[in-house]
């Protein structure tokens, strides 16, 4: 029987991939866009972990950030609005050998795709979910998204958004069977890289919300945090996101938080005056739906035919 986790062809010479091997088209994001460092971080992870490009797939919905698959020289699936999760879950159901990255935005995930989001978290199939949260619909040019701050202006709400924004971290932490929730910022590449790497190595669905600057529509939203790191709260713990001391030094506000403590994580998540960054919660022993869904995926053709015929035999008269 063939082991599908091994390459199809056996290459006599060992392959080594550089960063360029993962670079697809030239990104068409605006200059200064916060998506760019995320792209670089993912490419670096692919390179550092030497992921096989043909065994890596990036799935996305619709939105600025969802152009991500085009810029990776791997497999990709630029899907329907809000439907990145079902596609990714579908892939994972039958392909345990692939590395799956899901790129989704705050509109894509938290609005039209919210139902899929909740169930994908619950299914806990192994993948890295990157929520690019720039607080706005950027691709369609400045419409209020679920995470747009109250009173913030947009074309759909010229006099300011009426209701308070949704907190994706708090929502995710409250979903059953959640297994990995982290938050990071795009303007600190070392922390971003460390967070995504930890997410990639997590055996289950790793949900990472990336506070992402949109220089065009919501330039002011994260600017204070970028200029003054004391507006961020670094969550530290030996089991958390490992960060270099030099990086940790710039964060004046730090807190010791054990990622096994869900209640404390929920408390931290709802803090409004400060953005906690780092690992909120990790539970490696959460149940995984892909362990069930891949049943029979390793059967070969004849076994499958046999099985079908056996089933059909039940209907013999």
């Amino acid at each position: 029987m063939r082991d599908k986790s091994k390459p199809l062809t056996t290459d006599p010479s060992p392959r080594f991939f550089t960063l360029e091997d993962y670079e697809g088209q030239v990104p068409r994001w605006c200059s200064g866009c916060g998506d760019l460092p995320v792209l670089t971080a993912v490419q670096r992870i692919c390179r550092d972990e030497q992921l096989l490009p043909e065994r890596t797939v990036v799935v996305s919905g619709i939105g600025c950030s969802s152009r991500f698959p085009h810029y990776m020289k791997t497999y990709g699936f630029h899907g329907l609005h809000g439907r990145a999760f079902p596609v990714a879950c579908g892939i994972r159901s039958r392909r345990p050998d692939l590395n799956i990255f899901v790129a989704t935005g705050d509109g894509d995930c938290c609005a039209i795709g919210a139902g899929h989001w909740i169930h994908a978290i619950r299914y806990n199939m192994k993948m890295v979910v990157m929520l690019f949260d720039n607080n706005i619909y950027g691709l369609t040019k400045n419409q209020t998204s679920p995470t747009t701050a109250k009173d913030a202006n947009s074309f759909t709400h010229p006099e300011g958004s009426f209701i308070s924004p949704l907190n994706p971290i708090a929502v995710t932490l409250s979903i059953a069977n959640v297994s990995f929730v982290a938050q990071t910022v795009d303007w600190n590449p070392p922390h971003l890289y460390a967070t995504l790497l930890a997410a990639h190595r997590h055996p289950g669905l790793a949900f990472v919300r990336i506070l992402q600057r949109c220089p065009h529509f919501t330039a002011k939203v994260y600017e204070p945090c970028q200029r003054d790191p004391s507006l961020l709260l670094l969550m530290k713990h030996p089991d958390g996101i490992p960060v270099d001391d030099m990086v940790a030094k710039i964060f004046k506000n730090q807190v010791d938080h054990d990622p096994a403590n869900l209640l404390e994580a929920q408390d931290l998540a709802v803090r409004k005056e400060i953005y906690p960054i780092g690992l909120f919660y990790r539970n490696e022993s959460a149940e995984r739906y892909d362990h069930f869904s891949r049943y029979g995926a390793d059967m070969d053709q004849s076994e499958k035919v046999k099985a079908v015929e056996k089933e059909l035999d039940h209907f013999q008269i």
Partner: protein, 797 residues
């Protein structure tokens, strides 16, 4: 004995008492005006305020022009005097109006005013006096006012329950009577023609013959009839209730027992039964009798309540109702019983009388005992106790019982007395009120002097002991009402007139025990007025003398200041006996103060301990912080030294360590080191920057001679990119792909400085969203570095 001078025949008074009570302060605490509060849900409560306070507040709220209000405000004491001199006993409302109007007229007459201002003044005064036109009582410091206060206090706690029981009784009687009526109509007597005629009215006019109707009525065979016992019970109940309803019981009623005729002026209207045996045993009997009568009423009342609800079960209730006595009454029921008040002079409590008082208090019967103490000067031969000099130590043993509500008060503080009496009447415990009253026949002014003197000199201090207050002294015992209770003696600022012979410039005088005793000058033998020729340095004011007693061997002679009607001041020497009494009184007052929570030794000790602990804790914290700071400083110093070495190494291993040397002539960050080998120069400079002390000579060593003429300048302000923070936005690489390049991690670094200009560096720094490009300072010869560019560059360095 000091010889007396010619003025000794003139009556002297203690200066503090005589001068203080002149003018406005005299009316500070008395009289008070008591009126009913707005009733809320039928709750009856009274509010007491001093007239002066009332008038002053009204004056503030008046919207009449300033000068006239000011005139009245300045002469408020005079107005009060006019008012009080006109007040007679037992005023009803019409009388009060008349008295107030008369007082207003008299007051206006004494003011010098022309016709214009007179109208306005009249208006102000009328407005002011209308404040006491509301239904209420004015209570001053006369003996009769004690009786009035008792009546008001009883009213305050009895009135609301009185109304409740009147209302309820009426309802119950109505219900029970209709029940009896029905019963009667069902009986054979109910079918008699006369009864029928009575029930129907004029039957003839509508053509019905009562007799025919009676013959034709079928015998009643309806519902169950009342049993005979029940019928008897109902009838008895109704009779008892009706008896009370038609009695002339009044909410202000009290059952008064007074031992002596001398007390008649306190309750002039009441007809106290003459007491043959001891008043306290009498009071006990009287209470039992009264309570017995009332318990009978409450038996009827409770029976009626049960009957109306149809819930009376003989098996269950007969015994309980029969066993009722005053101790089983509810609080509300208890409040309805008019209190038994025993009025007695405190001086008569001795020997057998004291035994009877103890018996009464032991029996826990809630009798109100009012003991009057006539304030007529201090007698040092009287027994001294902590709770009062002339009450023969009554309060102390009574408080020690723990189950008796005790107040000690004075008519000088009618508000305190009123509040105390109200609480006492509302308590279901035996209550004892020790009240300082003026001697019968004393003038208003004299009475005031004696009352204030007794209170201020701590002879009969005010206090309230409420056993239900709580579990601690602080909760039960209240020392409020005493003048300046924080101090040993009350201290007053006195204006000495100019012609006074007093050489003391000090105008603040204390009201001490000898001052109170001096009110009885010249009869008292304990105080000797001396002429000014006898004054000497050895004489000290009493308070100072008492202090000297503690420290000096030869304490001198104590004196107090007295004044006669002409305003002549004299010193009056105080006898040893009086000084001893005074010391005793000081000790007693200190004990009282401690009970009242003032200067409490335990509290002071605890506070000192807490202060020490806090100080020690602070010192500890400070030390910890200092140590932490020291450690941190050391750490930073080491770190910076390490960084310095790193940078030094970086400079040393770079290709052109000296290529920047010629740049260093300008700029603050350059460090000039003369006559050193380049490596050592850089090392010394950077080590110094890192805070390490280093002797130049030591570093230089013997190489000084070799490179004598070389001069090296080291720059630290080179352009650089914090690559780790680069967000790969392509801005800089788009600007100049030769100057800026990406490293292996796709993060920018400066590849070739020669490939670009300083302006490009600054432009890139401006565009960089991660703000990680630091352009440094321009290289020499860079023509693009204009002033504006340099200014921009400064933001990113």
């Amino acid at each position: 004995m000091h010889p007396l001078d010619s003025t000794s025949t003139i009556k002297f008074q203690p200066a503090v008492s005589a001068l203080r009570l002149k003018g406005r302060s005299r009316w500070l605490h008395s009289p008070i005006f008591v009126r009913e509060n707005q009733r809320q849900q039928g709750e009856f409560s009274l509010q007491a305020r001093t007239l002066r306070n009332l008038f002053e507040e009204r004056l503030k709220s008046l919207s009449i022009e300033e000068p006239q209000t000011g005139v009245v405000a300045d002469n408020l004491g005079h107005l009060l005097e006019c008012l009080c001199s006109n007040l007679s006993k037992n005023l009803d409302q019409a009388d009060i109006q008349k008295v107030a109007n008369d007082a207003g007229k008299k007051f206006l007459d004494t003011l010098e005013s022309n016709d214009e201002t007179k109208d306005q003044l009249n208006k102000v005064v009328n407005d002011l006096l209308s404040g006491i036109m509301e239904p209420g009582w004015i209570v001053g410091r006369r003996r009769v006012d004690l009786g009035a206060l008792c009546s008001i206090a009883i009213r305050s706690h009895r009135c609301s329950v009185f109304e409740y029981f009147r209302r309820e009784t009426k309802r119950l009687v109505g219900c029970l009577e209709s029940r009896l009526q029905v019963e009667f109509l069902h009986s054979p007597e109910g079918s008699e023609p006369d009864t029928l005629a009575g029930s129907f009215g004029k039957m003839d006019s509508i053509g019905i013959n009562a007799e025919t109707l009676a013959q034709n009525l079928p015998p009643y065979r309806g519902a169950r009839r009342l049993s005979n016992t029940q019928l008897a019970r109902l009838e008895k109940t109704v009779a008892t209730l009706r008896h009370w309803m038609h009695s002339d019981d009044n909410p202000e009623d009290l059952i008064l027992l007074a031992s002596k005729k001398g007390l008649a002026d306190i309750f002039p209207d009441s007809t106290a039964p003459s007491v043959k045996s001891n008043i306290f045993s009498n009071a006990m009997d009287c209470f039992d009798r009264t309570a017995g009568e009332w318990v009978e009423f409450f038996r009827a009342f409770r029976t009626a309540l049960l009957e109306v609800e149809n819930a009376y079960e003989p098996d269950l209730h007969d015994e309980a109702i029969a066993n009722m006595d005053w101790s089983t009454l509810t609080e509300k029921e208890f409040a309805l019983i008019p209190p038994v008040v025993a009025l007695e002079e405190s001086t008569s409590i001795e020997g057998k009388s004291l035994d009877f008082l103890n018996q009464l208090l032991d029996s826990a019967r809630p009798v109100v005992i009012i003991l009057t103490d006539v304030a007529d000067g201090f007698d040092p031969s009287a027994l001294q106790t902590i709770f009062g000099a002339s009450h023969a130590g009554l309060a102390a043993p009574i408080i020690a019982r723990g189950n008796v509500f005790v107040i000690q008060s004075s008519l000088a503080r009618p508000k305190h007395l009123f509040t105390g009496l109200t609480r006492l009447m509302g308590s279901s415990r035996p209550g004892v009120a020790l009240v300082s009253v003026p001697a019968p026949g004393d003038s208003e002014e004299l009475a005031e002097q004696f009352l204030e003197g007794a209170l201020g000199s701590r002879t009969t201090p005010c206090f309230v002991f409420d056993p239900d207050g709580g579990n601690s002294w602080a909760a039960c015992f209240d020392l409020n009402g005493n003048p300046q209770k924080e101090h040993l003696w009350p201290e007053y600022e006195i204006e000495l007139s100019e012609n006074s012979e007093s050489k003391e410039g000090n105008t603040s005088l204390r009201l001490t025990l000898p001052d109170y005793a001096a009110l009885k000058l010249p009869e008292t033998q304990e105080i000797t007025v001396i002429p000014s020729s006898e004054w000497s340095e050895q004489q000290y004011p009493l308070a100072e003398y008492l202090d000297r007693l503690q420290t000096e061997e030869n304490a001198g002679y104590p004196f107090i200041l007295v004044v006669n009607e002409e305003g002549t001041f004299r010193r009056a020497l105080v006898s040893d006996k009086l000084v001893n009494s005074c010391l005793e009184r000081v000790r007693c007052w200190r004990l009282l103060q401690e009970l009242g929570g003032i200067n409490n030794e335990y509290a002071l000790l605890a506070s000192d301990r807490a202060k020490l602990e806090t100080a020690a804790q602070k010192d500890n914290e400070r030390e910890t912080l200092l140590n932490a700071q020291k450690d941190e400083l050391e750490k930073v110093r080491l770190e910076s030294a390490r960084e310095t070495i790193d940078r030094l190494v970086a400079i040393l291993v770079s290709d052109t360590p000296l290529s920047i040397a010629d740049l260093a002539a300008e700029g603050e960050k350059s460090i000039l080191v003369e006559n050193l080998h380049p490596i050592e120069a850089a090392s010394a400079a950077l080590l110094e920057e890192g805070g390490l002390s280093f002797s130049k000579d030591k570093v230089v060593g013997g190489k000084k001679q070799e490179d004598k003429e070389e001069m090296v300048q080291v720059r630290v302000a080179d352009p650089y990119i914090d690559s780790a923070l680069c967000t790969t936005c392509n801005e800089c690489t788009n600007l100049n792909p030769l100057l800026f390049k990406y490293n292996d991690n796709k993060q920018a670094y400066i590849a070739d400085l020669e490939a670009g200009t300083f302006t490009q560096l600054v432009q890139a720094a401006e565009k960089c969203p991660a703000r990680c490009i630091h352009p440094g300072e321009p290289r020499p010869g860079d023509k693009t570095s204009t002033k504006s560019v340099l200014a921009k560059a400064a933001q990113f360095n």
